[in-house]
């Protein structure tokens, strides 16, 4: 119940699709989605495998509540060994694709091997087959999605695909579904491309059953009421979206700017939510058209926007005149503050290109920021880059997005990500990330806990493994001082464990601005066999965290990789309330290891493993 109880195993080398029963013992220990797929992956691949070799596997996975009537029940994840990081990768996406997969009767799809030629997987409920994708290879996500719907004469098919970037080996390619929703980070789309798998297209009409339908409707209605009554999920997020954070984080002095050289951006107000809603002088319209929701979501935080047609980026490119998804805060920060570009229309254009060609805008923007610093330092020249790459250059942002999206020209070098790019040019200290993945939109000097969350995140620097910003800035569930590192190890651990459980449920992590695990538990309990309490969910979250950690340790990561760049540890923040601060990682990390039940070397002790049943 709630779980479909079966999964699809696709062997791309042999071209076969086989149904298998889901391991229900594992489902009860790991819930679903992130937890369950990680269990499968870690059982089935060698942690030392080359992420881009046929021996790596990629799992598309749903949670038990995906496809149900719970709010935000459209989520799915892509789990693999990440191309960008070489660490465990789990990228979560909304939209409608996850719901379709679950309604076709599949909890997850495991892809193994490598197809001899480009293919896409087509699923119609029980029927699954690999079809020739040669006509779509070399085309964008947008064209692929339209083309596949056209092939089958069915506009209701849901498609998740890679763009040209994923084919070309750009290290941070995404899997994009529903045109602009993405399993965005760690290069999961690069792995998909390495398997010659262009897309997965699904039509599902079977429905999802739950253990106790009456209690489930009551529990999900209760949950929806909590979301509606909460000022953040009921009003703040639908009205302003995540982009409202641009000015908030800038005011706190924690908006990383120009590759973290600065911690406040003078143009923050030109690229945030207020700017998106402002009527433009040029055409009398606002950038923001409307908000939008993923499947079943009663929050609707998404942004749909339209670029000013007179703007240089699109004046000669009518294909970008239509309204599309974005900007969300993380993308706006990376494409804007991280590069010093304060032109909202240029950011929107670069974001559209990231969606169109399937590249992670966070890593792209951050890598361009690093390249701009190399350029300003004279390490890179115009001869190498093809154009001036000064901080703040909107034309360079747009041009480099186009080139990186196709892995062409200097875009192929940007496609390496900042770690390999800065190493190549002898300045590794300019890569702003952890475990090969770039930071998102919060500076660990001005917000201490998030620095620890970045350093210890199992998929490389990430805000979504433990979003302590909720507490440190918004006061959810309680306010803590962002500049004080005391108590942050416990805060980070609590957020990490709870998030791992939420990511395994099929629901969106944004519900946690209003819900605690006490709100999730009755919904899961009414849907799934077994007894599900908040305590059990938290234990599952901790189990998942340690499972991921074990995989990374076996892959060759050590405590030395739980680190931050020197810039965050030695170069104090220059302005605002965080002026003079560095991140106090060395103080927080030993306490964090102890709370986790790990050795000084960052390895879970036998006692911890047996407590968690690992």
């Amino acid at each position: 119940m709630a779980w479909a109880g079966k999964m699809l195993r696709v062997n791309l080398t042999e071209g076969t699709c086989k149904s298998e029963p889901l391991n229900m013992e594992w489902a009860h220990a790991y819930l679903g989605q992130r937890g369950l797929a990680t269990k499968y992956l870690t059982e089935e691949i060698d942690p030392k495998v080359d992420p881009l070799s046929p021996e790596n596997k990629m799992i598309m996975t749903t949670g038990p509540l995906t496809g149900t009537c719970a709010s935000t029940a459209g989520r799915y994840s892509v789990v693999t060994k990440g191309a960008l990081t070489g660490a465990i990768a789990c990228s979560n996406s909304g939209g409608y694709f996850g719901n379709e997969m679950k309604n076709a009767g599949w909890d997850q799809i495991i892809f193994e091997g490598k197809s001899p030629k480009p293919v896409y997987l087509y699923i119609e409920n029980d029927k699954a087959e690999l079809l020739d994708a040669s006509a779509h290879w070399g085309t964008s996500v947008w064209d692929t999605e339209e083309g596949i719907k056209h092939n089958h004469g069915d506009p209701q098919i849901r498609v998740a695909s890679i763009g040209v970037s994923g084919e070309q080996g750009v290290k941070y390619a995404c899997v994009v579904n529903d045109m602009h929703r993405a399993a965005g980070r760690s290069g999961v789309g690069t792995v998909m491309g390495s398997k010659n798998l262009k897309a997965v297209a699904i039509r599902g009409t079977l429905g999802v059953s739950v253990k106790d339908p009456k209690r489930f409707v009551q529990a999900t209605n209760d949950g929806k009421k909590v979301l509606a009554d909460n000022a953040v999920t009921g009003q703040g997020l639908p009205a302003m979206g995540t982009q409202v954070l641009m000015n908030v984080i800038n005011e706190t002095g924690a908006l990383p700017t120009r590759n973290h050289r600065d911690n406040q951006f003078e143009s923050a107000n030109d690229i945030g939510a207020e700017a998106m809603a402002k009527v433009r002088e040029t055409d009398g319209k606002a950038n923001l058209i409307t908000n939008a929701a993923c499947f079943g979501c009663t929050i609707a935080c998404g942004r749909i926007s339209q670029i000013d047609r007179t703007h240089f980026s699109v004046a000669e490119r009518p294909q970008y005149h239509k309204a599309s998804g974005g900007l969300e805060y993380e993308a706006a920060w990376a494409l804007g503050a991280a590069t010093g570009v304060g032109d909202l229309e240029a950011l929107t254009f670069a974001n559209f290109v990231c969606n169109e060609q399937g590249i992670d805008p966070i890593t792209f923007g951050a890598t361009l920021g690093a390249a701009m610093e190399l350029f300003e330092d004279g390490v890179l020249t115009e001869e190498q880059t093809g154009m001036s790459l000064k901080f703040g250059d909107a034309k360079a942002l747009c041009e480099m997005a186009l080139l990186t999206g196709k892995g062409e020209g200097f875009g192929a070098e940007l496609g390496l990500g900042s770690k390999l790019l800065t190493e190549k040019y002898g300045r590794p200290e300019l890569s702003m990330g952890v475990k090969g993945q770039e930071f998102p939109a919060y500076d660990g000097r001005g917000i201490q806990g998030i620095g620890l969350a970045y350093a210890t995140s199992n998929r490389g620097a990430c805000h979504l493994r433990g979003y302590t910003i909720a507490s440190e800035v918004f006061g959810i569930p309680v306010k803590t001082d962002p500049l004080d590192s005391d108590g942050k190890p416990a805060l980070v651990k609590a957020f990490q464990d709870a998030t791992a459980a939420v990511d395994s449920s099929g629901l969106c992590v944004f519900t946690t601005f209003a819900w605690t695990l006490e709100d999730f538990a009755p919904q899961i309990d009414a849907a799934c066999e077994g007894d599900w309490t908040a305590e059990r969910l938290l234990e599952i979250g901790e189990r998942i965290w340690n499972l991921e950690r074990n995989f990374n340790n076996a892959a060759g990561f050590t405590a030395a990789d739980d680190n931050l760049p020197e810039r965050l540890l030695k170069d104090a923040a220059k302005t605002g309330p965080s002026e003079g601060k560095v991140n106090e990682l060395s103080k927080m990390l030993p306490e964090y290891y102890e709370l986790r039940g790990w050795s000084h070397a960052g390895v879970p002790t036998n006692e911890t493993l047996s407590r968690l049943g690992l």
Partner: protein, 83 residues
Amino acid sequence: MQIILKLYAGLTPFLPAGAQNNQIAIEVDEGTTINAVLDAHNCPRKLCHLVMHNGFHIPPGERDARVLREGDALAAWPPIAGG
């Protein structure tokens, strides 16, 4: 003395005419408190969720007592979050 008042998101409409980029320099008396400024601009207190004084978070219980000084920045938001 002058301070900078910054109102964002759903509080934007409470900015006086002439504000640009969601902020405006305003004249206030010496000894003016945070709540006195927000009240003078008709910002409903329950909408003033996140309030920052020079970037530092000020909880509701301290806003009546916290006195502003020449050149200070006062910023306020309704309930918001993101990520």
